[in-house]
């Protein structure tokens, strides 16, 4: 059972009980307003997630991959990025897209099935969710090679899961990142599970230890501690910007929900495991800290909860009101410039569908 005992060696700045703990190497100082913002982000992302799960149950979304429990890892790391930096998220990284300014309904559009995308990656500085495990790690390495060619000090972050580290692509991304000394941070959320496969049974050794063999540093961080995540990610991004090449960050966290709404985790994991991790909840942890330090009070928390409920309503209404794509849009943007054979298929479909309308009209 994954009880998180190995997290002991991870960088931690905030204990599960919400106490600030010192760390020899990593530190972070944030303004109170920043701390409150982080809390707000995490609560809103969680509310978005809960609402999306509910919408899927109601048949409004085809699928949903929950980020529950991983908010600190996602928000904490993505909040370290500058606007001109670039993030490559997976299907689960709603805290990342949120932090990049991707709009809630843009995030949900793909899961509703009205698009396979949802936003303009260039505008948001954030790629579309990559579903094929590991592919985006190479995109990030390549994008970072481009940043390097530009002579820019932008940085790039690639997100992937613990399971993804099995894929050839992720390892090739390590090679490319290393060989081209590319300004990329490989950010692995080790949430202990790859669908039904527990991390612990699968590979001896921790993931961040893989970095050394590819010639760059690896760091293990408590992924449910948003301060530690930020401290570690910031340093890695700085290294990238200043020509120091890649870093592999392993954020030790936990997938608190099912793999997706199609999954039934009772078939493969114990309820007790979840209980243990509930005590390490990333949002609770920051909340206690804020309260104890007097950085936020009940009034603030209530206000955020209220905002979260408004977000839920907005999302619920917005999803239901999403415009259905037209049949012909299938043919749009297959190519930058369409070609005659495709145009013919589009025309035929239009004529064919029009023939039904005619049949039906009096």
């Amino acid at each position: 059972m994954s009880d998180g005992s190995r997290v002991a060696s991870a960088v931690q700045l905030l204990s599960p009980e919400g106490e600030r703990v010192p760390h020899g190497r990593y530190e972070i100082t944030l303004r109170d307003s920043e701390l409150r913002e982080l809390y707000r982000d995490m609560v809103l992302v969680r509310r978005l997630d809960t609402e999306a799960t509910a919408l899927q149950r109601q048949g409004e979304l085809g699928l949903w991959a929950s980020s529950l429990g991983q908010e600190a890892a996602q928000v904490g790391s993505a909040r370290c990025l500058r606007p001109t930096d670039f993030a490559f998220p997976t299907y689960r990284d709603h805290g990342v897209t949120w932090s990049r300014g991707v709009q809630p309904l843009e995030i949900l559009a793909m899961f509703r099935g009205v698009t396979n995308g949802g936003w303009d990656p260039i505008e948001r500085g954030c790629a579309i969710y990559t579903i094929v495990i590991g592919n985006q790690a190479l995109h990030a390495a390549g994008y970072a090679m481009g940043v390097h060619l530009d002579g820019s000090d932008d940085a790039v972050i690639a997100y992937f899961g613990d399971g993804a580290t099995d894929e050839g692509d992720v390892n090739e991304a390590f090679v490319f990142g290393s060989v081209f000394n590319a300004p990329v941070v490989f950010f692995c959320q080790n949430n202990q599970w790859a669908i039904s496969q527990p991390r612990e049974r699968r590979n001896p050794g921790l993931i961040h230890e893989r970095a050394a063999g590819f010639g760059f540093p690896g760091v293990l961080v408590d992924g449910n501690d948003i301060l530690a995540v930020m401290a570690v990610t910031r340093e890695a991004l700085e290294r990238a910007r200043s020509g120091g090449g890649p870093t592999l960050v392993e954020a030790y966290t936990y997938r608190m929900a099912a793999h997706t709404t199609s999954d039934d985790p009772t078939r493969y994991r114990h309820a007790e495991e979840l209980e243990i991790w509930r005590l390490r909840d990333p949002i609770e942890r920051l909340k206690v800290f804020l309260a104890r330090q007097g950085i936020a009070d009940r009034h603030y928390f209530d206000q955020i909860d209220h905002e979260a409920n408004e977000l839920a309503v907005f999302v619920r209404d917005g999803v239901r009101a999403m415009v259905e794509p037209s049949a012909g849009s299938m043919f749009d943007h297959v190519y930058a410039e369409s070609h005659p054979l495709l145009d013919e298929q589009r025309r035929r479909l239009r004529d064919y569908e029009a023939s039904f309308v005619e049949e039906l009209s009096p």
């Binding site: 509703r112 094929v132 050839g168 039904s196 496969q197 794509p325 049949a327 064919y352």
Partner: protein, 328 residues
Amino acid sequence: MTTMTMAKALNSGLRKAMERDSKVVMLGEDIGRLGGVFRITDGLQKDFGEHRVMDSPLAESGIVGAAVGLAMRGYRPVVEIQFDGFVYPAFDQIVSQVAKMHRRTEGTVRMPIVIRIPFGGGIGAVEHHSESPEAYFAHTAGLRVLCPSDPQAAYATIQQAIACDDPVVYFEPKRRYWDKGEVDEGFDALDTGGSADPWRARVLQVGTDVTVACYGPMVRTCIDAARASTEASVEVIDLQSLSPLDIDTVAASVERTGRLVVVHEAAANVGLGAEIAARVTERCFYELEAPVLRVTGYDTPYPASRLEEHFLPDLDRVLDAVDRAMAY
């Protein structure tokens, strides 16, 4: 005879194959305790052990590459690719190794590997979960490609695929997993004499005016279309084996009907429909009263799920093609 879903029929066929031959082992993502995301391997790890039903790392090239090694050691690996869109990382191992090893070693090494792939659309999924990549494999010499269309066929052909000494890419029409049908579990699938030959196409509905050739998920659609057709008498052929193709059966039908419509979900361009059209036209040049028509997915990426009904051939599009063929 028992009524069961195709999912259950596959599960039952896999179980039979494992009982029959202790060299049959399984490898795939989440196929153990979870029983696979579609539960096709449900209960098999429990009953045959973790050694014979192995949860694999999340690495498709690895799964197929390891299967090559297992086959060299004398095993008969049955691997599951979780969804159609995730077979591509394994493409190199399939094309360069699985397909060519027997030929390369002058017949001394066999590759009795079955690569199971739940495939096709119509289930409202996100991207990469609705693809129909069969043409890539049918174009690859050295592979066999099978695709069952109903529970009985699934029960039989999965066993035959496993017993086959050649590598078989086995496409399971996932949107038909929950369709029910009669299955004769007493039936000895390995007695392939006669009607049970998996490499033969099956005439499922007899007709006189137009032949419709299809496979997998489209078979039910085409049978429904044939039944709904009032103008023309439609013969429906389930190809079942996509490589090698049983052109004899299709050509024999076309010699009688004079017309052929091929239906598949995959994109038209350089798809199986093209091959069937080319071959049948060569064989039946003087018998054809109309060109072979194709009803297929479009030459676009598989669209977002809210559009898939427009992308996928349905009863009306099949009937429309039948009408067009008749109009020649």
